[in-house]
């Protein structure tokens, strides 16, 4: 898996060439994932209701995240290093203004210009040193310090990223704190490898704000599932050391439960769950 990470294949301005950029505008799965991430990021951004704000989109790419912002009635300015991605964004006629630039060199914006900032799957690129004079730590610091200054006081920045190692998370949060931000990491679906999503939720000054909590996949199901439900069954399979007989109803229910905890889409349990199909003639 590690070698499949796009950061390893080349610098972002070269990796996101025309072909790769076109993928981003046509692949419905990518669009779906990006849109969901953006919606969650904007939710975490906690912008004032019913007000149109100016938001910075760091690593806007083809403007998928920007479209979500437009739908919610906000104005946005996007910054990206790949001109091909920005061309795609231009073709898609996104509402926001686009700027070509390298976030590792800092934000080219005036102080206090934005009400908030989002970034979807871009920050991990800063952890790579693509040129010999690149220093990830310095680039991160430059990014965070200039981001801090271009945000209005009390504004939030929500940055979703895919860290490769726990070290990267440390490095990123350390530099963010050094730049003056408060806040921290919000992790959605921490039990799952695939559905786990990291959001760095940063506050630029203002009064102390409470960090939002991550989703666990159990919202809305609360009270439906009870811990005691498996108690009797567990007795029956005691000889299996707590494990249920494979393909049995309890085994299936446990597996469904496990998947639900990982945040995957699982059909609700019913009396038909794990029932055998009728034998054909």
């Amino acid at each position: 898996m590690a070698s499949k990470r796009p950061e390893h294949q080349g610098p972002p301005d070269i990796f996101y060439n025309e072909e790769e950029a076109r993928k981003y505008s046509q692949n419905t799965h990518i669009i779906d994932v990006q849109t969901k991430l953006s919606e969650r990021a904007i939710e975490l951004l906690n912008l004032p209701d019913e007000e149109s704000c100016l938001v910075l989109d760091v690593g806007c790419g083809s403007g998928l995240s920007g479209e979500v912002l437009t739908d919610l009635g906000h104005q946005w300015v996007g910054l990206d290093i790949s001109s091909s991605m920005l061309d795609v964004a231009q073709e898609r006629e996104v509402e926001g203004d686009l700027v070509l630039g390298d976030i590792g060199y800092g934000m080219p914006f005036r102080a206090g210009a934005f009400d908030g900032a989002i970034s979807i799957s871009a920050l991990q690129w800063l952890c790579q040193a693509d040129k010999n004079y690149h220093n990830p730590i310095k680039r991160l610091y430059k990014f965070f310090s200039t981001l801090y200054s271009c945000l209005a006081r009390g504004a939030r920045a929500v940055l979703q990223f895919y860290p490769e190692t726990p070290n990267q998370v440390d490095m990123i949060t350390q530099q963010a704190m050094k730049a003056g931000f408060t806040g921290g990491l919000v992790v959605d679906y921490p039990n799952s490898t695939r559905a786990k999503k990291m959001f760095l939720c940063l506050f630029a000054g203002g009064q102390v704000q409470e960090l939002p909590t991550g989703l666990t996949g159990e919202e809305g199901n609360e009270g439906v599932r009870t811990q005691a439900r498996y108690d009797t069954e567990r007795q029956r399979y005691r000889h299996l050391r707590g494990k249920s007989l494979k393909k049995s109803r309890t085994w299936i229910l446990e597996k469904k439960d496990r998947w639900r905890n990982k945040g995957r889409d699982v059909r609700p349990d019913s009396k038909y769950t794990a029932r055998r199909r009728p034998k054909p003639f």
């Binding site: 203004d97 390298d102 210009a113």
Partner: protein, 118 residues
Amino acid sequence: MLTSNILKGVTKGFPLKIKAVKVENVSVDYNRDFVARILQRIEYGALQSAVKDLGLNESLPETMSDAMQQDDEFLKLMHKVLLEYEIEEGELICPETGRKFPISKGIPNMLLQETEVS
């Protein structure tokens, strides 16, 4: 146009001088609240010089007062100037260093060379 008011040069260069080759006029839905909100953030002097740089046929008042920020006429004008003018091709010039940032297809290129980074 809105972006030009918040973009700055490498270190301090602001406002960037605009040299436009092609300006397009797009229509954007008028949102009074947004314009009123964003006006508090706008550097009015920079906007005036930007309008002068572009040679736009808009007459902006000399100064902006608080009362004008509630005036619908003025807000509509601001909306037109800020959101509806789009520079398709041209250049942004840093007033301090003279560094030129080209604009192509409406996207300003703010990429820097290694030597320009402090």
